[in-house]
């Protein structure tokens, strides 16, 4: 069994902490993806598992064996690299068999395994090609064959699809999932592309600034993000955030007011909170019946529309006079919503929208931690509770 455990892994360079006290438990056969923005420490974490970097503190345990001080070759792992890293001076056969030849397997065994690996990645009949005679996709297959031929306990993949074109990338994603099923090994996968992470993984480990933010199945990360970072990072386009504070009536900000009972979430009046809602959980109020549990309508003005074919992304602003700012992301005072493609909506219109309470999140603005992933309406949250709260407050 090849469980991978990281215990308090910390990696410091001279003045930078690349990985900060990372604890992870990956079970045998799991497909775990490390996601995060570039420079967040996900690659360094993988390199510590591979043994290409020695952690400053902490332990790496693979299959119950403390491998922290073992060189990469003795860890029972293999790896696929972002830049594919085929040896340019070796042909396909030599590339795939490199590790086996180093370990002095006998010729027949090497042939048998190479053939099998090539079959798995559908690379038959190319054994004497040189890497520079192959397409990007073929090279990637060779790299994968080289990694699986040794039957590693753990399979590390460092952005293996990053250098492929978009179409091939989608195709290879499916291939990798098929491979995972076939091989029944642990796969640890690094990517900055959250779509890849969502589609392939059993669990996603979201990493930021060297710290593990959340490790959960993709949908859990999507529906119940543990903090503002995860909420903002997972999902494309990203979640809308509105900063505001708690009053006796619920959430209040310049543009958005949502009534609810603060005490139900142990919130005290005056606390700074951030409301988060995904674009697809905001509805035009004329379609409000689609929302499971709509909030009172909010007035906004449509700005830019981005028809995507299967949906329309509409940028709304609360202040009609506000200059539309086409910078990256959604600015304060703006709301990005996703509506049906056949919705009757035009630019520069007044619109009324509602949020779906069941899909509205609240985060503590100072710590960033999630408070709740749904906001119950005042009447159903238990009027008695609210009364009691008011009573005691007096």
């Amino acid at each position: 069994m090849a469980d991978v455990t990281l215990e308090n892994i910390t990696k410091r360079y001279e003045d930078v902490t690349a990985v900060d006290d990372m604890n992870l438990d990956i079970k045998h056969g799991e497909f775990v993806t490390f996601v995060g923005p570039s420079g967040c420490g996900k690659s360094t974490t993988m390199e510590t598992i591979a043994g290409l970097t020695t952690p400053t503190e902490g332990k790496v345990i693979i299959g119950g064996r403390d491998v922290t001080n073992l060189p990469p070759k003795d860890r029972g792992i293999s790896m696929v690299f972002q830049n594919i890293a085929l040896f340019p001076h070796m042909d396909v056969y030599e590339n795939i068999s490199f590790g086996l030849r180093l370990r002095k397997y006998d010729k027949d065994e090497i042939d048998r395994r190479v053939e099998k690996a090539a079959e798995v990645v559908q690379l038959g009949g190319m054994m004497d090609r040189m890497p520079d005679e192959m397409s990007g996709g073929q090279r990637q297959r060779v790299a994968i064959a080289r990694a699986i031929v040794r039957n590693p306990d753990v399979f590390l993949m460092d952005e293996p699809l990053a250098n492929l074109d978009a179409k091939l990338r989608v195709h290879m994603r499916t291939e990798l999932q098929r491979l995972h099923k076939e091989l029944d090994t642990t796969i640890i996968y690094v990517t900055h592309d959250q779509a890849e992470a969502m589609t392939m993984s059993d669990r996603i480990a979201v990493i930021n600034a060297g710290e593990l933010q959340q490790i959960d199945p993709p949908l859990t990360c999507y529906n119940e993000p543990k903090n503002l970072f995860v909420a903002g990072f997972i999902g494309s386009p990203s979640m809308n955030f509105v900063e505001g504070r708690i009053t006796d009536n619920g959430f209040e900000s310049d543009d958005v007011n949502i009534p609810f009972e603060p005490a139900a979430y142990n919130l005290s009046t005056g606390a700074d909170v951030t409301l988060g809602v995904r674009p697809e959980d905001v509805y035009l109020s004329r379609n409000s019946r689609e929302a499971a549990d709509p909030t009172p309508p909010l007035t906004a003005y449509s700005d830019v529309l981005e028809p995507m074919g299967n949906e329309i992304f509409a940028y709304l602003k609360f202040d009609e006079e506000a200059e539309s700012d086409m910078e990256e992301g959604v600015m304060p005072g703006q709301l990005l919503i996703s509506v049906d493609p056949d919705t009757d909506i035009a630019e520069d219109q007044e619109v009324e929208v509602v949020l779906d309470r069941a899909k509205t999140h609240l985060f503590d603005t100072t710590t960033g931690n999630a408070i709740t992933h749904q906001i119950a309406p005042v009447d159903t949250a238990g009027a008695s509770g609210a009364d009691a709260e008011v009573g005691s407050g007096d």
Binding site: A2, R113, R150
Partner: protein
Amino acid sequence: MATDQDTAAVDSDTATGGLLRPITTWMENLSEEAYAYLLLAPAFFFLFLVAFYPLLDTLRLSFLVQEGRTAEPFYGIGNYVDLLTGEALIRRQVLDIALTSSFPFIEMGAPFFRQALFVTITFAVASVVLETAIGFGQALVLDKEFRGRRWVRVAIIIPWAIPVVIQAMIFYLFFQPTVGFGTDLMQALGIFGATPLNTSRDSFIIVLVADVWKTSAFMALLILAGLQSVDRSLYDVAEVSGASTWQRFKMITLPLVLPALIVAMLFRTMDAMRIYGVIDATAGCSTVPSLTCVVVDTIFLPQSGVIGLAAAAAFFTAVVIGVFISIYLLFFADSEGGYF
């Protein structure tokens, strides 16, 4: 495939087994820094044994006694003083008049070591200037595309690649009055005397020409590298703006090649100041004394106990070269684009 899993892990342990295993494991676990020092150790062992230790030992020896001058074993800077004032027990003290009269800086009877210093520096400056000029010419020729360029390049490199002793032999035979026509030719032109290889001034020129013949190619190659790194489209731009060939050379080629040129000149200067072989094998060290000549001559003096003197001469040579390098670096540190 999953069934093979366990055997793979075992293989990897046994394959590299044996005695080496503890060593390789130890090496693999060294930190980046420790590993760097370990692999640099052999190189620095050689450099220490052959360069750093001898250099320091030369310095130490240079302060030791010159026999017969003092009873104390420690002689301080005495050897250096002796060398520069002409008090040293060096075999020859006087450069012949032909050289001193044509080089007014050095008066007759100047201490031999100062003559050597003068010869070395004059040689270095003259040879580097000539080699840069000729090397530039050769580089410009090689920079052009033409049929047979490969062979022209070979022809130009070959003198650089031949042994010093053979280079010396060519010029030795050429100016050997009984064999070569060089003496007759130069005498007819009124430049040389009847026995150029025994005359300091003539020999100096012979050695200079021999050096220029051999090492211009080195300059040419380095300058060529600079030329070929120039973006060709710049020439098109200049041409469109109406620059003549000469203006293009002056305003584009020269400034862009300058860094490579300076590096090449630095190398050549260092090398020229070590001049020894071609002198020893043509005119001989007594006719054209260079600093290295003085060191070698002193080491092999029949008197014992002049080791300190030889060491002083050797270390002094190193210092002179060091001074030259510093001058280069001071003047050109900026224009070199941070090579140093």
